[in-house]
């Protein structure tokens, strides 16, 4: 029976083919699963954020040098809400938009709300954003007492970014790609909310009003 002989010889071949197919599918699927942290982080921004851990979580214990040249730990701001984000002065894309949104937002707050909130803008460009430049920028944006423009003091921006869950990548042309997320830290020093400013500033306002 030639037919039955053919069936017996092709069966192991088919089995091996199926096994290889399943192995490729399992291996490839597993790789994509791991790469996207369980199919939940498809962008560099979301990956960095997820990798830092779920919310709420304790804010990293960083120190910064403010626009007056004073070195301060983040813990010194305990007792007030802190809205932390990263930026750089030479940015021509998202940073000016976020800074403008924050300026409008902060100036619209009542005095009581302003007393409860500190905006902490940390530069990712320590070479160009000197203390003097940060001071000038702070003055241009309204010189609000509750707005700190700073650069990291005790560790590199890459370390700060990694601990917070911020994606930062300096390109060879001098531009710096980075997450534009705003991290809301509660008076106890825990990150309780991450707000994307690219949604719209009404959402940031609504989110903040819940806390202030």
């Amino acid at each position: 029976m030639p037919g039955s002989r053919q069936t017996t010889t092709t069966m192991p071949k088919r089995f091996v083919a199926l096994l290889v197919c399943l192995l490729v599918l399992g291996g490839g699927g597993g790789l994509v699963y791991a790469w996207t942290l369980g199919f939940s982080a498809f962008t560099s921004y979301s990956y960095a954020l997820k990798k830092a851990g779920p919310l709420p979580r304790a804010a990293p214990d960083i120190s910064f040098i403010d626009q007056f040249g004073n070195e301060r730990p983040l813990a010194s701001l305990r007792g007030r809400y802190v809205l932390l984000h990263v930026f750089y002065g030479s940015c021509l894309t998202i940073c000016p938009i976020v800074i403008e949104e924050l300026r409008e937002l902060y100036s619209d707050l009542s005095n009581a709300q302003q007393n409860k909130l500190v905006i902490l803008s940390i530069s990712v460009d320590s070479l160009r954003d000197t203390t003097e430049r940060l001071h000038n920028l702070w003055r241009e944006e309204g010189a609000f007492a509750g707005w700190i423009m700073a650069q990291p003091a005790d560790r590199s921006i890459d370390q700060v970014a990694r601990e917070f869950g911020i994606w930062v990548f300096a390109k060879s042309d001098g531009t710096i790609n980075h997450s534009a997320d705003l991290f809301l830290i509660d008076p106890g020093g825990r990150i309780v909310r991450v707000i994307s400013p690219q949604s719209n500033d009404d959402r940031i306002r609504r989110d903040l009003e819940k806390y202030l």
């Binding site: 599918l25 490839g28 790469w35 962008t43 560099s44 790609n177 690219q198």
Partner: protein
């Protein structure tokens, strides 16, 4: 002998894409990188498969098609595209992967039964349209290496491309369905 020269010539094309000057041209916009370069690499893979002297094994076809699809899926992830802009080695891996995916698809797709081939082509074109819509409609930046305008332009180019492929598959399916009736 002639075929070996052809093989070498086509295999050199992906290597050329890795040269810094040529890579800079393709990496300048998302459209060039993720669409132009990908299509070029797919074409190279396709061309290689036609002059490849090795015997095709039908039993390997499903695994090869799955591998090609996974390679595609992996390099469609925004984080993976970012990686090609940061590390030259990741870019080299991307070029090799898409080239290999093009080769595997054209080499093995024809060995699948007609129904499977049509189903795969419909799935593949739907995937292109869905990815296009995602990139075009997303108000936030997905690939940090490119701008939002770049991302939208890329998305809006993928949608018609996917639709054209989808329509072509539908037309070929109609022919394939009608043929047995005509022959009766």
């Amino acid at each position: 002998m002639k075929n070996i020269f052809r093989l070498l010539a086509i295999s050199l094309l992906p290597v050329l894409l890795l040269l810094p000057r040529i890579d800079a041209i393709f990496s300048a916009t998302m459209l060039r990188k993720a669409l132009g370069e990908s299509l070029l690499l797919l074409l190279c893979g396709w061309a290689i498969s036609w002059i490849c002297p090795w015997r095709r094994m039908a039993s390997h076809a499903p695994a090869a098609i799955v591998a090609a699809t996974l390679l595609f899926l992996f390099w469609m992830i925004p984080r993976s595209i970012d990686l090609t802009q940061i590390y030259p080695s990741a870019n080299a891996l991307y070029v090799i992967s898409i080239f290999a995916a093009g080769f595997l698809l054209s080499y093995y797709l024809l060995l699948l039964p007609g129904v499977a081939r049509v189903a795969y082509a419909l799935y593949f074109s739907s995937m292109i349209v869905a990815s296009g819509l995602l990139y075009a409609a997303q108000p936030t930046l997905l690939c940090s290496a490119y701008t939002l305008e770049d991302q939208h332009a890329f998305g809006w180019m993928l949608v018609p491309l996917g639709l054209v492929v989808y329509l072509l598959v539908l037309v070929s399916m109609t022919r394939w369905l009608v043929e047995p009736i005509e022959s009766q």
